[in-house]
Symmetry: C2
Subunit: 605 residues, 2 copies
Amino acid sequence: MLSGLKRFIVGQPLATAQARHERLSKTTGLAIFASDNLSSVAYASEEVLRVLILAGVGALGLASPIGVAIAMVIAIVIYSYRQTILAYPQGASDYIVAKDNIGTLAGLTAGGALLIDYTLTVAVSISAGVAALTSAVPGLFPYRVILCVSAIALITLGNLRGLRESGRLFALPSYLFVAGIGALIVVGLTRYVAHGVPPATAAPAGDPLVPLTAVLVLRAFASGAVALTGIEAVADGVTAFKPPEVRNARTVLAILGAIMVTLFVGTTALADVYDIVPRTEETVISQLARLIFGGGVVYYYIQAVSMLILVLAANTAFADFPRLAFFMARDGYLPRQFGNRGDRLVFSNGVVILAVVAVGLVILFDGDTHSLIPLYAVGVFTSFTLSQSSMVRRWARTRPAGWGWKAAISALGALTTGTVLVVVAATKFMEGAWIVIVLIAALITMFLAIRSHYTSVARQLSLDGLQPPPAMSTTVLVLVGDLHRGVVQAIQYAQALSPAAKAVYVETDPERTRRLEERWGKWGLGAPLVVLSSPYRSLLGPLVDYIDHLRQQSPNHMVTLVIPEFIPARWWQQLLHNQTALLIKGAMLFRKNVVVTDVPYHLRD
Amino acid sequence: MLSGLKRFIVGQPLATAQARHERLSKTTGLAIFASDNLSSVAYASEEVLRVLILAGVGALGLASPIGVAIAMVIAIVIYSYRQTILAYPQGASDYIVAKDNIGTLAGLTAGGALLIDYTLTVAVSISAGVAALTSAVPGLFPYRVILCVSAIALITLGNLRGLRESGRLFALPSYLFVAGIGALIVVGLTRYVAHGVPPATAAPAGDPLVPLTAVLVLRAFASGAVALTGIEAVADGVTAFKPPEVRNARTVLAILGAIMVTLFVGTTALADVYDIVPRTEETVISQLARLIFGGGVVYYYIQAVSMLILVLAANTAFADFPRLAFFMARDGYLPRQFGNRGDRLVFSNGVVILAVVAVGLVILFDGDTHSLIPLYAVGVFTSFTLSQSSMVRRWARTRPAGWGWKAAISALGALTTGTVLVVVAATKFMEGAWIVIVLIAALITMFLAIRSHYTSVARQLSLDGLQPPPAMSTTVLVLVGDLHRGVVQAIQYAQALSPAAKAVYVETDPERTRRLEERWGKWGLGAPLVVLSSPYRSLLGPLVDYIDHLRQQSPNHMVTLVIPEFIPARWWQQLLHNQTALLIKGAMLFRKNVVVTDVPYHLRD
C-alpha cells in the first residue's frame, strides 16, 4: 500500500542505464543558470530602499549610487569566476575549489555556507515569488505562508520525479522576465525624460526613525548585496554545456553579468526617480509596474514572470543542494544516504531534507522575504571569498602563463567579496547574521564528527590483519511461553538449524510450568525444556543471565535465540499483543555473540 | 540509561511473593471507601444551584427540596447495594454482576460506563480539588489547568510506585473532612437560628435568563445526582475488610449512607438559608465557610480538607480503573497488556492510560468542574441501573429465603436509578451526555472486536487437530554488499547453521561485482556466491524474487536470510548508515516461510 502511494507520487523507477546527460546550448544554458541570479532583481533594489527609508524619504536618493557600487562588485566577481572556469573546466563547486587549494577546513566552511545558501535560496525565492503574486492579487496576502508551502511541495514533487531533465521548457521564464523588466526600464526612463515624475500616489512615510549615518549606508549596501546570489552557478555547471564547454560557459557568464548589471541598476534608478517608497503589502517592482504601465495586461505580465523566475530560482537549489550533499557524502562529511540515487535517478534524500528545512524557514519567518534577507548574504559571501582566495593560491602554485595577472584578478575578487562579507556580517549581525555564523560552525563540527565516525568504522571493519577465522559453533534456544502452533513451528525451525536445539521457559507461576511440562511430551518434538525461575515476574532478567552464561563459553560461540512470533493480519491487532520479541531484541542488541531470530507465524484474520 | 530513569521514578521491582493483602478495620475501611462518594459534597450542592440560578435568585430556594429528593435516591441505592453484598460476598464490580445475571452485552455496557465513570472521577475530583484551592488563594486561579495536571501526575507516580498499599494514612482526610463539614453545618445552622441571615455580601446575580420550568427543576436534580458517584465502591471491595467481611462491609455502607445524606442535605440547606449565589471563581462551600467562620483558620482548614478528600477520591479511581481493566482483559475484552502486573505489582498500563485520558479531559475542559459534570452522571447511573436490574434477575433465579422482598428492593433501586438515568440523559443531552452515550457504544464495539480477535487467534494457534509435523529443512543465505569483518562473521555464523550456506550479492555495478569476486576467494570461506542483477538499483526486488523462488520448493522448507549488521556505539551514529536490514525485514514480514536474522557486529566508537 505504502509502496503504491510512492509509485503514484514519484513515478515508476528508472533503470540506471536510462540516465541521460543532455547538453545545453548557450541560449538554453544562459536561461537555466541565470534564473537564480537574475531573479534577485525582484527584491534586491527593494532591500536597499527598505534600509534607507529608516532615515526618511529623503535618504532614498542614495539608492542609485549604492546600486552602482553593487554593480561594480558584480562585475568583479563575474570576471573572477570566468577565470575559475579556465582552471576547472570540469566544473567545480566552491566546496571543491576551497578544499583543493586551501585545505579541508576551508572546504568545509564553503560547503556549510553553500548548503545554508541553497536552503535560503529556496525560502527567499519562494517568499519573493509569492510576494509578486500577492502584490498583484492583494486578497491572497493573508494566505502567503500556505502558498509558499504549497509551492515548495510542488517543486519537491517535480524534483523527486526527476523533472530536472526536461530543461528546455525551463528556459522560457528567464527570457520572459528579462524582456518584461527590460521593457519596464526602457518605458519608465523614456516617460521620465519626456514627462517627468507623476504625482506621488502613495502617502509618504512618516518621520525618520534613525539619522542617516555611514553605518546605515553600509547596511543598505549589505542588503543589496543579495543581488550577487547565484552567480557561482555557471562555474559549477561547466560540463552541462555543449562543446567547447569552457568557452561557452565563459561567454554565458559574461552575458549574464551584463544583463544583471543592467536590470539591477535600471530598476534601482527607476525606483529612485519615481520616488517609490517600499511597503510590506506590495513589492517595489509591482509599484513601478503599476505606475508605469497602469495596472493593465503588461503589469500582470511582469508580476507573473517575476513569480515564475523566482520559482525557477528555487528549483535550481533543488539541483544544487543534493549535488553538493552528494559530493560531501562521497568524501565522508555527510551521511552516506545522500549518496544514494532514488528510483528516478535523483538524490532524493537531499531533495527531501532541503524541502523540509525550507518549509520550516518559510513558516518561521512568516513567508516574509525581508526578514530572511539578513540570513542570506553571509553564506553567499563566505563561499565567494573562500573560492576567490583559493584561486589566488592556485595561480601562485601552478603558475600558468600570465599567472600574475590572473592571481591579481582573483585577489581583487577575494578582497572585494571579503570586504562585503565583513560589512554584511557586521551590519546584519544582530538581525540574524550571527545565526548563520553559529550554524556554519555547527555544520563544520558535524561534518568532522561524521567523517571521523566513518573512518573509525572503516578501520574497525577492515579485513587487514585479520587471521582466517576458525569455524564458529552455535547453541540454538527457542523461547517458549506457551504451547501453540507458532511455538511448534519455531521448535521445528530451531531443530532444522541444530538438532541439539533446546527450549527455554521463564517460570512466573509454578502451576503453569506443571501444565506446560505435561503437554511438552507430545508437542516438544523431543527438544529438552530448560525452566528458569523468575521471582520478580521479569521475563528478561533470568533469560539474559542464562544467555550470558552460555555465550561466554568460547569466543567463537554464538547463541541463537529463536522467538516464535505471530503476525496479525491487520496492523491494529498488533497493539493487542505483548511486544515481547521487540523487548528481547532491545535487551540483546548491545551484547556480543547473541543472535535473536524471530520466526513469524502468519495469522489469517 | 532508560531503565535507570524508570528505577528512579518507579522504584526497585517487587517480588511476586511480596504482594501484601492488608485487611481493613471498619474505621479505616469506611474512610478509604468513603472518599469517592463523600467528596462530591464539595461540588454537588453547587451544581444544583448553578442550574437554578438560570431562573433567577428567587429559584435558589428550590435547592433544599431537590437536595431531599436526591438524599432519598441515595438511601434507596445504599439499601439496594447492601443486598448486593449479601449475594456477592467475594465482592463484584457492576461489570461482573451485569455479565453474570443479564448477559455479555449488559456486562460490557456496565464495563464501558464504569471505565468512563472512573476517568471522569479523576478529572472532576481534581478540578474540584483545585477549585477548593483557588477559592482560598484566588491568585492561583489562572494556573488551575497546570495545577490539575501536576496533581494527576503526582497521583500517577504514587500509584506506579504501588503507594496504594500504605492505606492507613489515606484514612485521615475523610474524617477531617467529615469533621470540617459537620462543624460548618452545626455552626451555620446554630447561627442562623440565633441571629438570622447576615446581610448578603455578594451582589445578587442579574435578571433570570430562562423561566422556571419543570424541565429546569429536573436539570437541577440531574446535576445534583452526581452526589451518588462512588457509592458502589464498598460493594466492589468486600474482601478488603477484616472478617466477618460481609457484615463489616454492610455496616460501613450503612454508615456511609447516613453521613452522606447528612452532609449533602446539610450543605444544601445552608446554601439555601444563607442565600449563596454560585460563582465561577469561588466554590459554594468556600463562600459558606467564609461567611460562617469569617476567613480565619477554620476557613482554611475546610478548604484544605476539601482539597485533600478530592485528591483522595481521584486516587481511588486509580485503583478501580486498572482493576476493572484487568478483569475485562482477563475476559478478552481489552488488550491483554492490561493484565500484566508491573515491577511494583501494579497494573501499570491501566494507571498510565487513565492518567493520560484524565489529563486530556482536564486540559480540554479547562479544569472547570461545572463543564465536566454533564458527562459524569450518565456513566454512573448506567452502571447503577444495570447492576440493580441484574440483582432482580438474580433473586428471581436463585430464589433464596425472602427473595420476594429482596427482589422488590432491587427493583425499586433499578427503577429509581433508571429514572434518574433517563432524566440525566434527557436534560443534559446537548450539554455533553450524548458524547458519553456515543462513547459507550464505541467502547462496546471495541470490546467485541478485541474479543473476536483473541478468539480467532486462539483458534488458529490451537494444537487441536494438528498432525505431528514432519521435520523442517532450511536454506541459509547471507546477504553480502561488501566484504568486511562484519560480513566475514556473518558467513561464519551462516556456516555454523548450515554447512551448505550460500552468499547472495545484488549487483548494481558490474565493476564492483568484479572486485568483490576477486576478494571472495580469500574471504568467502568457501561459501558459493550468488550474484543477482538489478537494473533498477533496487536491492529488494531481485532479492525478493530469488527468495520467493527458493521458499516455494516445499511447504516444510524455510529460507533463512542472514544479514550482517554493524551496531554503532552511539545512537546518533545509526543515522549515518543505510537501514538496509530494517527495509528487508519489512519486505519479508508478510511472506511465509522466510526468517530474517541479523548478525550484529559491535563497533567500539
